[in-house]
Symmetry: C2
Subunit: 259 residues, 2 copies
């Protein structure tokens, strides 16, 4: 990816394409290695399909934006590979999370464990984590840069896993609903939530309660408020203008799923 | 651990204790971090229990033996931490393997997923992998040493995961049994093997067939033959005497489970 020109100071789409190329090339290399050693390629293929199925590449964009915010220019190959490593780590986390949450779909497709089975999906996730290491370690950073970045990367990784272990993930919505529910709604929530065999009607009932209690509207208001705080902070932040523009855009991208 | 004295040129037990101290210290640090950040400690505790429950520490011993075979002296702290990182990675692999193989016991205790559930056990394994990284990266290797060791470590890790994906793991025994089985034994093997709901009688039946077909004796003979080849190779290998002694000892340690 060339350095940003004045007309397109930070081309997010070009960056996403460049990161996707790094990911695809790395996985192709793995596929060739696997074939050469007579090893199973299904895991690499499943991972390749997963990464090819979409995703906003928010972490790679933030990685490159962070570099430029700190005065670095453009997105040289080593930075692209480090950025791609973040996306690969994210793939690991999503694949294992989907097993743990027994999720059926992700990015509009069956989750990896619904495609290849739970056992293989554990290994596909494990492979993603190892390949994330591999991308970062072979990014072309100098030994000193690598030694500086590894402790930070490890801390973020450990935090991700601890975060997954924290009970009650994603339950701000549920906490709001429980707080505002009447007796009947409370009984229904307690009966249905966390039930892995929830049928279509029960799920629809829960969604209705989330709306009727005002929980959904309250959560959307919280998100809008925090996004506004972020945007206001950005107005006066001592950052290059093109970085402010990227972060403003991400403030909307990252909050668009729930609105 | 101090450098080996002439009287105890390679004290495997002392090395195992030193590695266990590194592992315990690292996990204690993680536990303190978790507490300070209000994060769940159960995962660290489960991992700590798993590592405390035994294991031969073969990989750390081989790591230090390899260093000394190449002319390095003793086992300085950085080497001990790198060696401990191998054991932590091994813990990751065993914890996930036990989920995948639906194993009930490991080292005479219930497997991690039988203790904390499959979902948490996936994360405990993930944590072990991240902490293995952390141990290696913070071992105190110079940036150049770290940059040299990481590609090798990554390749070993990827190979481990591909190995787990390879179909028919641990089936040399089964292949021998199928090859020598009569029609009735063949039917029983095909019915029972891979059945996750195998009862006690069926399992006993399979074990009897493995003995009656001579499969078990043939496998033990294969192991003994390969161990003998290794020992013969060692006799003429250009290695320091104390390293030969360690490798001879490991030739027996690593093959003792199946005899």
């Amino acid at each position: 990816m060339s350095d940003p020109s004045p007309a397109t100071p930070f081309d997010q789409d070009a960056l996403r394409r460049a990161v996707d190329t790094v990911l695809a090339d790395h996985l192709s290399g793995q596929m060739r290695d696997a074939r050469r050693h007579g090893l199973p390629r299904e895991a690499v293929q499943a991972l390749s399909d997963f990464l090819g199925a979409g995703g906003k590449r928010i972490r790679p964009v933030l990685c490159v934006a962070g570099r430029q915010a700190a005065g670095g220019a453009g997105a040289p190959e080593a930075v692209l590979r480090a950025a791609a490593s973040l996306e690969m780590f994210h793939a690991f986390a999503l694949i294992h999370d989907d097993i743990i949450d027994a999720s059926d779909t992700r990015r509009g497709r069956p989750t990896v464990h619904r495609q290849v089975g739970t056992e293989a999906a554990i290994l596909v996730g494990d492979l993603a984590l190892v390949l994330a290491d591999d991308l970062l370690h072979s990014a072309g950073l100098t030994p000193d840069q690598l030694a500086a970045v590894l402790p930070v990367a490890n801390q973020l990784r450990a935090d991700t896993i601890y975060g997954d272990l924290r009970k009650g993930k994603a339950t701000v919505l549920m906490a709001l609903a429980l707080h505002h529910a009447d007796a009947g709604q409370l009984r229904a929530l307690r009966r249905h939530v966390g039930n892995p065999y929830l049928n279509h009607d029960d799920a629809a009932h829960v969604r209705t309660i989330l709306i009727d209690t005002g929980a959904r509207a309250a959560l959307e208001e919280m998100i809008a408020q925090r996004r506004q705080n972020a945007l206001t902070t950005l107005d006066t932040a001592a950052l290059p203008l093109h970085i402010k523009a990227v972060l403003r855009s991400l403030a909307f991208t990252t909050t668009s799923r729930t609105t």
